[in-house]
């Protein structure tokens, strides 16, 4: 099962993840997003991408193939980071 954690200090309660998730995994409680149904998460990482505060973390997600990346560019970035 996918585990989702929300950094409550970083979350600004915008509710984008709540609106975007087709499986209603999140709910806003006291202006903080809470994953109430993580078992329904299919790992699309849409919420992860749109979260302006980058407050979400997913564990146990199958990473889909990313053949669109430039291997050389990624190697260069890895050397810098």
């Amino acid at each position: 099962m996918i585990e989702i954690s929300v950094d409550a200090a970083a979350c600004n309660g915008c509710g984008l993840c709540v609106k975007d998730c087709p499986m209603q995994v999140y709910e806003l409680r006291d202006e903080v997003s809470v994953p109430i149904r993580p078992e329904n998460c299919m790992g699309c990482l849409s919420c992860h991408e749109i979260c302006p505060a980058q407050a979400l973390e997913h564990r146990g997600v199958y990473p889909s193939k990313r053949n669109y990346i430039d291997i050389r560019v990624c190697e260069m970035i890895n050397r810098v980071i």
Partner: protein, 188 residues
Amino acid sequence: MMAEMTVEEMNQQFKTGTVFRAEEIPISCSPSAKDLEQTLHGVMKLNGLIIKSLEEIAGRGANAVTYRAGKKFGHEVAKYFRKIEDIEEALRELSYILHGQYTFELWKPEDKENYVVTENGETFIYLVFHDCIVRQTLRRNGMEQGGPLCQTLYGYVVGAIEEITGRRAKLEIVHTGPNACLKKLILK
């Protein structure tokens, strides 16, 4: 380095003196991922631009064209599969065979007992598409998901399912994401 070569030196690399006879043409190809990268990205770029141009010229008709193309592809690929009546088994086999182009899993929310759900007179199955060449092409070109190129996948699955099970089907895009997409396969 290519930039330091003269034109003559560059041309020289294509002159190997190798003689090919028809029976000696190699039947296998196994270049490394790095050698394939530029070719793959070139194909992605070309595909993306064809779809963009098609959308500009044909407007909403673009979806019909790409759907048709995908459906033909689906029929073409699936005609060699064994015919299966059980839809769940057919989908599992399809995912296995398409591994490398598309991989998908049958999916159900926790509160549902079966993959095949009947609601409001409609029978459907949720499919989560993980690896998808369409998504990768769109992301390579900075294009929006859910457009005409996604219709090829829609047609592809419908064509393959029709070919394998003999049942008519419809695929609905429920949600698109950077790592996976949720589709609803409606059975008729």
